[in-house]
Symmetry: C2
Subunit: 273 residues, 2 copies
């Protein structure tokens, strides 16, 4: 196993414990006070690739930082190795913070790590975080639920163990359905096809928020029937949230502030009435 425990000072006699912590969507200001305090006293921070430099800078100066992310096309960590790494550091007596992008309970592979900690009889706590959809909605100034519009929100993944994830497409194609699709960029054409096959209005608004809350955040709006093209022209590469059934507040006005390519695209596609 790479990155075996280094000489972090074990707390003598302290029972090993681990904090599984949500890092929020990227903006360090969206870290919780509790996550901040844990980072500031951590010996070892084991973090996903998506956790940004601004958040990691808040960790204790002497803390060992280990990235266990999966680089597209590059080397990547197997979940079993991540589990073993967390356990090994905890057993060494280190104060371990396992830092996960967003909220650890939303598409965070949390269960595998909890199982490994239980198997090793290591106590752990979970610190929830701001999930990407909440930050993306705040950026485009819409609420995720709204009286008279939608009294339910679906949080979905575009990717499954077997590839593109299947969902309740009929329900999602309904006029009042609102969903936040995580890891949906590669699945955009698949999702578009499934929704339209099940009767979704081709003019259903879809809004992509790339790098929500970060300095390089980008917002792209499109009609459902032009979604893959809009994402391609705007150069959205992710990570991104795709909102099905939501458009930015003020629509065109909001897009005036966006990158020119995004704006011109939105105008060209005639998305925003």
């Amino acid at each position: 196993m790479a990155n075996a425990p280094r000489s972090t000072a074990p707390a003598p006699g302290a029972a090993p414990s681990v904090a599984l912590v949500g890092a929020g969507p990227g903006d360090p200001g969206l870290l919780t006070l509790k996550a901040h305090a844990l980072l500031a006293t951590a010996d070892v921070v084991i973090h996903d690739r998506l956790v940004g430099a601004g958040v990691l800078a808040l960790a204790r100066t002497g803390a060992v930082r280990i990235e266990v992310g999966k680089l597209p096309g590059g080397p990547s960590w197997r979940q079993a190795d991540i589990n073993a790494l967390i356990v090994a550091h905890a057993l060494s007596g280190a104060r371990v913070v396992r830092l996960k992008s967003g909220d650890p309970g939303v598409f965070g592979r949390l269960d595998e790590e909890m199982d490994a900690l239980d198997a090793a009889a290591i106590a752990f706590e979970i610190v929830p975080g701001v999930t990407a959809a909440a930050a993306a909605a705040a950026s485009i100034k819409v609420s995720l639920t709204r009286r008279g519009r939608n009294k339910a929100l679906r949080i979905l993944t575009g990717q499954d163990v077997d590839g593109f994830a299947e969902h309740d497409w009929r329900g999602l194609a309904a006029p009042d359905a609102v969903a936040a699709l995580y890891m949906g960029l590669k699945a955009a054409r698949f999702v578009q096809g499934r929704l339209m096959l099940h009767g979704a209005d081709p003019a259903t608004p879809v809004t992509a928020v790339e790098n929500a809350s970060r300095a390089d955040e980008k917002v792209v709006g499109a009609r459902l029937d032009r979604l893959p093209e809009a994402l391609a022209v705007a150069g959205v590469r992710g990570p991104a949230i795709l909102f099905i059934g939501l458009r930015p507040r003020g629509a065109l006005a909001a897009l005036d502030d966006a990158a020119p390519s995004t704006l011109s695209l939105a105008l060209a596609s005639g998305s925003w009435a």
Copy 2:
């Protein structure tokens, strides 16, 4: 209008602006760094009833705190009056923080306030927060989504403008459906009836988390067919999240830590296999 602007020192020449801020689920440690910073410099904090004393204590000492919550059976604020109050304070030059429980975009009546601010040409920003479902899931140590179990999560309200909210009951009754029901306590019997009418397994696990993340948090588990009785016996009065399709990690083990009434109830109802 009650609580008209007091003598908060207006910033001379500064354009009025308002921050619509998520206060998180209750634990002050789950406030974001950004929310904390805004509270620490606020002139006026206009907050819901559910925002706890621990969070409010983080506001600037001299800040005016105004509660605009709705007390069951007591005096309550109309949304239009809340909107007018926010606008009036902002126009007076005060740094206004509108503090909403959880994430402002999830059942937060955010749109009405944004509309009022736009109508008054007052700039605003939205600061997302940790929503109650994320905190409740962290407390019972389950993830809201899980590979091989559920690749979608529904966030629903139990209450609608017209009373109990109708939802896609057939989809929610499916064996792998997972939902977080907000404001669902009064609707518990209604939800139970709708789900069972649509074929839900009577043994579907339902977990209520009352006052998630707070010192008085309570967890109650029940089978769907015994849900209203379990909530009544345990004395759950809310605010609570009802998880449909989720049980606490370790089930009985987790409930050993709960209040005796909760534990005995769970044992008596034979909820946890």
